[in-house]
C-alpha cells in the first residue's frame, strides 16, 4: 500500500508557514456552495419530493476548487468549506416539508406579509437552536458512544483520499463511477424531450404519457398545420387566462371581493366549456388563445410548456424485464403478476425499483422490493453490523406484521394483496414506528445521561482539561440558546395574535390583515368589517361554537390562558421538544444515516395543535418548520463533527463557523419558496401543489396530517403502544434498539432493504477479508457510492431545472 502524502504540497515551502485551516477562501467558497445548492435542492425537493445530502457534494466541490483549481487547500481547509457549505445547504428539507403546507391550505405568503418574515426569523432561530443544542452532545455521541455517522465517515474518506495514496483515491473514484453507472438509468428519465407524433401511441402503451397528453399533442399539431384552433378551444383558453390573472389578484389581496367574485364566475364559465375542449391540457388551451391573439406563433406551441407530450430519456424500465407469465386455470393472467390489469405481466425492474419478491413468487402482500440506490447500499456498508437492526424493524413490519394482519382480516378484505403493504404502513406501521422511535430515544437519552453529564462537565471545565479548549464554551452556547428562544417566543406570540380564520364568520368575505378581531375559545377570530365584528358580538355562544366547529377549530389544552402565556408555553415546549428531537435525529443518523425528519415534523405539528387548538395551523407550521430546520442542522452538525474528528479538525472552529453561518440557510430556502410561489401564481394561478410544476409531495402529506388532526383521526393509542414497546426494547442490552426498529417500520422499506444489503456486505467482507481490509478498502469504495449518487442526482436535477 502506498501512503505517500499529497504531491501538491512541498514540505520545504511549508516550513514556518501557518497550516491552512480556517481561511477566507474556505469560508467564502463554502458560502457560495451552500447558497447555490440550497436553492437548487429546495426547488428540486418541491418538484420531486426528496432532497439530497449536502455534505458530500460540498466536500467534493470544495476539494475540486480549493485543491484542484486554486491548488492550495489543505485537508482541514476543505473540511471548513464543506462545514460552512453544508450548514447552509442542509436545512432546505426542513423548510420545504413544512412551509408549503400553509400555501396548500390556502394561506398566502409574500414579501409584504409579516408572517413570511416571522416564519423566516423563527427558522433562523431554529437552526441556531439545532446547532447550539447539539454541540454539547459531540463528546457523548462521537467520542463516547462512537456512533458511525456514515455520511460523515464518507466525507472524511473523500478528504483523506489524496494523502491516503493513489490506490485508495482510485478506489474512491471507482465507487463514484459505479454509483453513477448504476444510478444513470434511474436519474435520466427525469430529463424529457419533445415526442414525435409517430411515437405517441407507443408512449401511451408504455405508460410514459397519458391519453390526455396524446390528445393534446395531436390537437396542437392540427392547430399548427391549420394555423388556427377551433373557436371553443380559443374561448376556453381565454377564460383560463383570465382565471389565472383573477386568482393571482385574489391571492395578492384577500380582501379584494371583486377578484374573488370574478374567480368564481370564471370557474363556472370554464366548467361549462364543451367536453372536447376540456379534454385538453390548460397550458395548451391558454397557448391556443395566445397564438390566436398574435402573442406567439402557432409553431411555438410545439413545446412542453404548451402541453406538447414529452418522452423521457432511457431508464431501466426500457429494458422491458417483466415478471414470468403465470396464468390461472381459466387462462387469464394471474393478478399477482399483473397489478395494473393491462393484460401484460408487470415490469420486474422499473426505473427505480427491483421487485425481487414477485420475481421469486412471494405473495405481493409481502413487500420485497429493492430501491436502486447505491447511496443506501454504501451507507449500509458504512454502518456495518449495528445498522442491521434497522433491517430487523423493516422485516418485522413488512414480512411479519403486514402479512399476518392481512391474513387475519385486520386490513379490510376489500384491499387487494399488493395494496396491503401501503395500507398497513399508513394504518399502523407508521404510528407504531414513530412511537417505537420515541420510546427507544427516551431510553437512549436516559441511559446516556451519565455520559452526557461527563461530557457537559468536561466542556464546563473548558481549558482546564486536556483538549477542553477545543470545544465551544458553554457561555456562547447559552447565549445562542437564550437568544433563539426569545425569537421563537416572539414569533409564536405574533402568530397567536393573528386571526386564525381566512374568511369572515358572518358574511364569508375574505379577512384582510389589518382586521377587527375578537377572542373566542382561545382563538383570535378575524372580521372583514367593523359591522360583521359587531354582528359576531351579538351572536350567542352556541352560534359561535357552531362556527368554530365548522372551521375544525377545537379548543386546545392551553385555550383558557392569557395569549402571551400560551405563546410562551408553546415556545418553551417547542424548544424542549427540539432538544429531544435533535438527539433522536442525531442518534438515528449516527447509527444509520437515516433521519426521520417528516415523522418529527408530524409530531411537532400535532403537539402544537393539541396545545393551541386544532385551528392553530400557522403556529403549528411555524414550530414544525422551526423544529425541522433545527433537527436537520443538528444531524448535519454531528456528521460534520464526525468528519472533523476523523481528520483531526478542531471542533470549536467548526462549531463557531456553523453557528455563525447556518442562519443563511433558512433565508435562502424561504426566499426560494417565495419566488417559486410567485412564479406559479403568474403561470398557474396556484401558489404550489397540484396543478403546478412544484407539487410539494412531502408538504401535501403533512397537510393531510393537519386535516386529520382537525378531524380527530390521529391514532394516539398506536403512538403510545409503539412508545411502550420502544422503551421496553431498550431495557435490554442496547438502549437505542427501539430507535433502530422504529425507524425502519416508519420509513419506506425499499430503501431499508438496499441499506440492509450494504450492512450484510460489510459483515461478509469483514468475515472473509478481515476488519482491517474491510475498513481500508470498503470504506473508500462505499464513500464513493454515497458521493456518486448525490453528485449525479444534483447534476440531473440541475439539468431538469435548466430545461424547465
Amino acid at each position: 500500500m502506498s501512503n505517500a502524502p499529497g504531491p501538491q504540497f512541498d514540505p520545504q515551502a511549508n516550513r514556518g508557514a501557518k497550516y491552512r485551516e480556517v481561511t477566507a477562501a474556505a469560508i467564502i467558497f463554502g458560502l457560495l456552495i451552500g447558497i447555490v445548492i440550497n436553492a437548487a435542492i429546495a426547488y428540486a425537493g418541491l418538484k420531486i419530493g426528496f432532497t439530497i445530502v449536502g455534505s458530500p457534494i460540498a466536500a467534493v466541490l470544495g476539494f475540486g476548487v480549493l485543491r484542484g483549481i486554486l491548488r492550495k487547500g489543505s485537508i482541514l481547509e476543505v473540511n471548513i468549506t464543506q462545514t460552512v457549505g453544508s450548514s447552509i445547504d442542509t436545512v432546505n428539507s426542513g423548510i420545504i416539508f413544512t412551509v408549503p403546507v400553509l400555501l396548500l391550505l390556502g394561506y398566502t405568503l409574500s414579501w409584504s406579509d409579516p408572517n413570511f418574515w416571522v416564519l423566516t426569523a423563527s427558522c433562523v432561530a431554529g437552526v441556531v437552536l439545532g446547532v447550539a443544542f447539539i454541540i454539547p452532545l459531540r463528546k457523548q455521541m462521537i467520542e463516547i458512544d462512537r456512533l458511525r455517522f456514515p455520511s460523515g465517515t464518507a466525507v472524511a474518506a473523500i478528504l483523506k483520499s489524496p494523502g491516503a495514496g493513489p490506490k485508495k483515491a482510485i478506489v474512491l473514484l471507482s465507487g463514484i463511477a459505479i454509483a453513477m453507472l448504476i444510478r444513470f438509468p434511474v436519474a435520466l428519465p427525469a430529463l424529457r424531450f419533445n415526442a414525435d407524433i409517430g411515437e405517441l401511441d407507443r408512449l401511451v402503451d408504455a405508460g410514459k404519457i397519458s391519453e390526455r397528453d396524446r390528445a393534446t399533442t395531436l390537437a396542437i399539431q392540427d392547430w399548427i398545420d391549420a394555423g388556427g384552433a377551433p373557436p371553443e378551444v380559443v374561448a376556453l383558453g381565454r377564460t383560463l387566462d383570465a382565471l389565472s390573472e383573477a386568482r393571482a389578484d385574489a391571492a395578492k389581496d384577500p380582501s379584494n371581493e371583486a377578484a374573488a367574485e370574478r374567480v368564481e364566475a370564471l370557474e363556472a364559465e370554464a366548467a361549462g366549456a364543451p367536453p372536447e375542449a376540456l379534454a385538453l391540457t390548460p397550458s395548451a388551451l391558454m397557448g391556443a388563445f395566445e397564438a390566436s391573439s398574435g402573442e406567439r406563433s402557432w409553431s411555438s406551441l410545439r413545446s412542453r410548456r404548451a402541453g406538447w407530450a414529452t418522452k423521457p430519456l432511457w431508464g431501466y424500465s426500457d429494458l422491458g424485464l417483466r415478471l414470468p407469465e403465470r396464468r390461472l386455470a381459466d387462462g387469464t393472467l394471474n393478478p399477482e403478476v399483473d397489478h395494473d390489469g393491462d393484460g401484460v405481466p408487470d415490469l420486474v425492474l422499473d426505473n427505480e425499483h427491483f421487485d425481487l419478491g414477485r420475481l421469486l413468487g412471494i405473495p405481493s402482500y409481502i413487500f420485497f422490493v429493492l430501491a436502486i440506490t447505491p447511496l443506501s447500499l454504501g451507507a449500509g456498508y458504512l454502518s456495518g453490523k449495528p445498522g442491521l437492526m434497522v433491517l430487523a424493524g423493516g422485516v418485522l413490519a413488512y414480512f411479519v406484521l403486514n402479512p399476518v394482519a392481512y391474513r387475519l382480516g385486520f386490513i379490510p378484505p376489500s384491499v387487494e394483496p399488493h395494496q396491503a403493504p401501503d395500507v398497513g404502513r399508513i394504518a399502523f406501521n407508521r404510528p407504531l414506528g414513530i412511537g417505537l422511535l420515541l420510546g427507544g430515544a427516551m431510553m437512549g437519552v436516559l441511559s446516556a445521561l451519565p455520559a452526557m453529564r461527563a461530557a457537559l462537565k468536561s466542556i464546563a471545565r473548558g481549558s482546564k482539561t486536556v483538549g477542553g479548549a477545543s470545544e465551544l464554551g458553554l457561555k456562547t452556547i447559552t447565549i445562542a440558546i437564550l437568544g433563539a428562544i426569545l425569537v421563537v417566543f416572539l414569533a409564536a406570540d405574533y402568530v397567536h395574535k393573528e386571526a386564525f380564520n381566512r374568511f369572515d364568520p358572518v358574511n364569508g368575505a375574505p379577512v384582510a390583515r389589518q382586521v377587527e378581531t375578537a377572542e373566542h375559545m382561545g382563538y383570535a377570530v378575524g372580521f372583514a368589517t367593523e359591522e360583521t365584528a359587531a354582528e359576531w358580538a351579538s351572536w350567542d355562544d352556541a352560534q359561535r361554537d357552531a362556527y368554530m366547529a365548522s372551521q375544525n377549530a377545537k379548543p386546545g389544552w392551553l385555550s383558557g390562558m392569557n395569549p402571551h402565556v400560551k405563546a410562551a408555553i408553546i415556545a418553551l415546549v417547542g424548544v424542549a421538544w427540539i432538544w429531544f428531537a435533535g438527539i433522536i435525529i442525531a442518534q438515528c443518523t449516527g447509527m444509520t444515516d437515516w433521519s426521520p425528519i417528516s415523522g418529527m415534523a408530524l409530531l411537532t405539528v400535532v403537539l402544537v395543535l393539541l396545545l393551541g387548538g386544532t385551528g392553530d395551523v400557522i403556529a403549528g407550521v411555524l414550530l414544525g418548520a422551526t423544529l425541522c430546520v433545527a433537527i436537520t442542522i443538528a444531524s448535519d452538525m454531528m456528521q460534520d463533527l464526525k468528519t472533523g474528528h476523523m481528520i483531526g479538525a478542531t471542533p470549536r472552529k467548526q462549531q463557531m463557523l456553523e453557528l455563525s453561518f447556518t442562519g443563511i440557510g433558512p433565508i435562502v430556502s424561504m426566499v426560494t419558496i417565495l419566488i417559486i410561489a410567485a412564479a406559479n401564481m403568474e403561470k398557474f394561478g396556484v401558489a404550489i401543489g397540484p396543478g403546478t410544476d412544484t407539487t410539494a409531495p412531502q408538504a401535501q402529506a403533512l397537510a393531510a396530517v393537519i386535516t386529520g388532526v382537525q378531524g380527530g383521526e390521529m391514532p394516539y393509542m398506536l403512538y403510545g403502544a409503539g412508545a411502550a414497546l420502544g422503551v421496553l426494547l431498550g431495557f435490554g442490552a442496547f438502549a437505542g434498539l427501539g430507535v433502530l426498529v422504529g425507524l425502519s417500520m416508519y420509513l419506506p422499506f425499499q430503501y431499508i432493504l438496499t441499506y440492509g444489503i450494504g450492512c450484510l456486505l460489510n459483515m461478509a467482507v469483514t468475515r472473509v477479508k478481515g476488519r482491517g481490509w474491510s475498513e481500508e478498502w470498503g470504506v473508500p469504495l462505499c464513500a464513493g457510492l454515497v458521493v456518486g449518487e448525490a453528485l449525479l442526482d444534483l447534476g440531473v436535477n440541475g439539468l431538469v431545472l435548466l430545461m424547465s
Partner: protein
C-alpha cells in the same frame, strides 16, 4: 440464555405490534349498541357494481348505523377466487374495552421486560467472562495493551524522526505509522467499550474516552497535516497526542 432472550424479545415485539394494530378495529361480532355511532376511519365492505367497479358499503368518515352493520355482516367479498367475510371495521375512536388485543399486548410487554432482564443478565455474564479472558490474553489484545502499543509507536516515531532531516520523508513516516495505528490499535481500544463500561461504570468510562478521543483526534490531525506536507503542524499534533494517551493508560491502571 442470550439466544433465548433474543428470541423472547423478537417474538414479544412482533406479537405486541400485531396486538397494537387492532387498537382501532371494531369487531362486527360486538353487539350493535357498542358499534352504532362509531366513526369509520376507512371505507368498509365492498359491493360489486354492474359495470365491474366496486363501491364501499360505508364510507370513511361516516358514523356506523344499524343499516351499515346489517349490510357489513352480510357482506361477502370475492378476492382472487376466495370468499371473505368482513369481520372488522376501522374506527376513529379508541376504547380499552373494544380493543381485542389488549391482553396480548400486555403479555408482549411482559415478555419484553423479561427478555430485557435476561439480556442484561446474559450481557453482564458475557462481559465478566470476557474480562477474565482478557486478563490472560496477550498484552496487545487488551485495552491496556492497545494503548501501550500506541504510546510505543509514538516513542519509536519520535526517535526515528530525529534521524531524518528531509521533511517530506518525515511526513511520509508519520502518514505511514499513524495510518497503521488508525486501523489497528486505536479501533482495538474502542472495541473494548462494553468491557470497560462494565469494569469502570459509564461515568468513569466517559472521562476515560474524553482523554483517549482527544489523543486520537490529535493523531488524526498529525496524519492529515503530514499528508498535506506540513511537518510543523504534524509534529505539534503528535506531541499533543502524547499526554492524553498517557492519561488514558494511567486511568486504566487505577
Amino acid at each position: 440464555m442470550k439466544l433465548i432472550a433474543n428470541l423472547l424479545l423478537a417474538i414479544s415485539v412482533a406479537i405486541g405490534a400485531l396486538a397494537a394494530s387492532t387498537a382501532y378495529l371494531a369487531p362486527l361480532s360486538l353487539p350493535d349498541d357498542r358499534l352504532i355511532g362509531l366513526t369509520l376511519n376507512a371505507d368498509a365492505g365492498r359491493v360489486d357494481n354492474a359495470d365491474g367497479s366496486h363501491s364501499p358499503i360505508a364510507h370513511r368518515g361516516e358514523a356506523l348505523t344499524p343499516t351499515h352493520l346489517a349490510a357489513l355482516r352480510a357482506n361477502v367479498i370475492q378476492r382472487r377466487g376466495a370468499s371473505l367475510d368482513v369481520r372488522y371495521v376501522s374506527v376513529k375512536e379508541f376504547a380499552w374495552a373494544r380493543w381485542q388485543g389488549r391482553w396480548i399486548f400486555a403479555l408482549a410487554l411482559f415478555g419484553l421486560l423479561l427478555g430485557g432482564l435476561m439480556m442484561r443478565a446474559a450481557s453482564k455474564k458475557d462481559l465478566a467472562e470476557a474480562d477474565a479472558k482478557a486478563a490472560d490474553a496477550p498484552p496487545g489484545e487488551s485495552p491496556e495493551g492497545a494503548i501501550a502499543a500506541v504510546l510505543a509507536t509514538l516513542d519509536a516515531l519520535g526517535r526515528d524522526m530525529t534521524d531524518i532531516a528531509d521533511p517530506r520523508a518525515r511526513c511520509q513516516m508519520i502518514v505511514q505509522r499513524v495510518g497503521e495505528l488508525q486501523v489497528t490499535h486505536l479501533p482495538a481500544f474502542v472495541e473494548a467499550k462494553p468491557r470497560l463500561i462494565s469494569r469502570m461504570g459509564l461515568g468513569a468510562y466517559a472521562e476515560l474516552m474524553g482523554n483517549f478521543s482527544y489523543g486520537e483526534r490529535m493523531l488524526n490531525r498529525a496524519w492529515s497535516t503530514a499528508a498535506d506536507g506540513h511537518i510543523g503542524e504534524a509534529s505539534t499534533s503528535l506531541a499533543n497526542a502524547r499526554k492524553p494517551l498517557q492519561l488514558t493508560a494511567a486511568a486504566l491502571k487505577k
